[in-house]
C-alpha cells in the first residue's frame, strides 16, 4: 500500500500568505503538493462554516494563514480569525479531532521560505496523525 498522503486546504490571505506562497513559487522553493490554496481577501473572512465544510469534504487538515497580528490589511481581521480558530478548536476537540487538524499560522508577504517550511512540517505532522475520520478519497 502506498504511503498515506494527507490533503490540506489552506485559506491564504490575499495580502500576505498568498503572496508568500507566490514568492515561494517564484523562488523555486519546493514544498509538498498536498496543499490546495484558497485565496481569501482576509483571514478574518474565513468563517467557521468554511472550515467545517472543508472537514466534511474530507480534508485531513485545514490551515488558516494570515498576516501577523498588527499587520492586517483591514486592521483587525486576523484577530477575528484567531478568535474563530480558538473557539472552533474546542468544538473539534469534543468531536474527537486532534488539535493539529486545524492550524492557524501568520505568514508575511516576504516569508516565502517560511510558507514552504510550514507546509512541509504540516504534511509531516498529518502523516503521523493519519487520515481524518471524515476522509474521502479526493481527486488528486
Amino acid at each position: 500500500m502506498s504511503e498515506f498522503e494527507p490533503s490540506i486546504l489552506c485559506f491564504a490571505c490575499n495580502w500576505c500568505s498568498y503572496a508568500a506562497a507566490d514568492i515561494a513559487g517564484t523562488s523555486r522553493i519546493h514544498y509538498p503538493p498536498n496543499v490546495r490554496l484558497l485565496r481569501v481577501m482576509c483571514s478574518g473572512m474565513v468563517d467557521a462554516e468554511y472550515v467545517m465544510k472543508a472537514l466534511e469534504a474530507g480534508f485531513d487538515g485545514v490551515m488558516v494563514a494570515g498576516c501577523h497580528i498588527g499587520d492586517c490589511h483591514y486592521i483587525s481581521g486576523n484577530i477575528k480569525a484567531q478568535e474563530m480558530v480558538t473557539r472552533l478548536k474546542k468544538l473539534l476537540h469534543i468531536l474527537g479531532l486532534e488539535d493539529e487538524r486545524l492550524m492557524l499560522k501568520w505568514i508575511a508577504t516576504s516569508e516565502g521560505p517560511i510558507f514552504a517550511e510550514t507546509i512541509k512540517e504540516y504534511v509531516e505532522q498529518l502523516k503521523k496523525l493519519g487520515p481524518s475520520p471524515f476522509r474521502k478519497e479526493l481527486v488528486t
Partner: protein, 384 residues
Amino acid sequence: MSLEDIIQETKTFYCLDCGKCTGLCPVSRYNPAYSPRVMLENALFGFQDDLTYNHDLFSCLTCYACSSKCPGDVDYPLFIQKARALALDAGQHGDCAHSGTVQSLARLMSNPGVSQNRLEWLSDGLRISTQSDTMFFVGCAPYFEHIFDFDSGAIDAVKASLKILNHCGIEPVVLPNERCCGHDMLWTGDVETFRRLAEHNAAIIKEAGVKKIIFSCPEGYRTFKEDYPKYVDIDCELQHISEFLADRIAENGLDFSEVKRKVTYHDPCRLGRHLGIYEQPRKVIAALPGIELVEMEHNKEESLCCGTSAFVNCDSCSKQIRVDRLLEAKATGADTLITSCPKCQIHFRCAMTNKGEEKGPDVEIEVMDLVNLVANALGDGHNE
C-alpha cells in the same frame, strides 16, 4: 417522496382555506409575506417550485401553533418538514445561523468513524455508571458550550440534571459516544443524515442495555419519542426530566430548601404543543417552597415560540418574536424566566446580548432552566 405523497400524508387537502394558521403564526405576525395558508394552497395547486424555491419555507418555526387550532386537522409542521426535504433535493436550504456549525457538527457526527471526547465536563461530584438501567441523554450540550459567544447554560443544565438524578439515587448511564439526536437535520430536510444518526444512537443504546432514557432536552425527547420509531427500534421507556421529577415529588416528595423567587414558565414548543407536557413542569415549580409562579399572557397551548427552530432562518423577525416574549415575561413582574429547553434559553440569551445605542426595549431578565432551579433547591445550601 413527491409533493403528492406529502399532501396525502399530512392531510393537506383538508385545508378549509380559513387562514387561522396564518392568523396564529408567530412568523406571519412580523413577516406578512409569509403565510402558512398560501404555502398549503401552492402545494394543493401543485405549484411545487413556488414551494421549494420559497425562501420562507425555512422560516417556519414548526411550533405547532397553527395545527393546534386547525379545524381541518392539517399537520402543517410535518408538511413543512417533508417539503424541506423536497427543497433540499432541489438544492435549496435555509440560512444557517451561527455559521452553520450546528448543522455541520450533526453531519460530521453521522460519520461512523467518529470517537468523541464529549464527557470532559463531568466533574467529581457527579456520579455515572455503566451498569444502570437508566440512561441520561446528554445531547448537544457539550458543543453548545463553545459555539456561542455568550454563556449558553446548556451544560449547566446537564450537570444539574445529573445532580438531581444522583440525589434521587440514580447513577445513570451516560454514553461517551452518543450522537446528536438528529432533530435539526430532520427538520431542515436532511433525512439521510437523520437516519444515520438515529441508527447509530439506536445501536449504542441497544448495546448499553438500558430500559429507560431520561432527557433534559425536549427536542431530543420529541425526536426519540415521535420520529425514531419511524426509522429505528428503541425499546426503552422515555421520560423528560420534568416528568421524572413530577412523579418523584408525587410519590415521596423531595426535600427542597426555600427558593425566594418569583418565576414565570415558558413552554418550549417541543415539550408543550408537540408532546402535551404542560402540567408536570408547573407541578415541579409549585413543589418548591417559597416560590411564586406567575403565568404569562400566552401560556400552555397558547405559548409563544422562542423565535428560531433548528438554527435556520434566524432573522429580524425571530428577534422580534424573542423580544416580545421577553417583554411578556417581564410584564408578569417575575424575576426569573424558567424554561426547560436549552435552545429556548440560547435564543433568549442571544436576544439579550444586544447592547448599545440601538438596543431597543429593555428585555433583561434572568433565564434559567427548570433543572437548575430544582438542583439549586436540593439541599446543598447555596440556593438563592
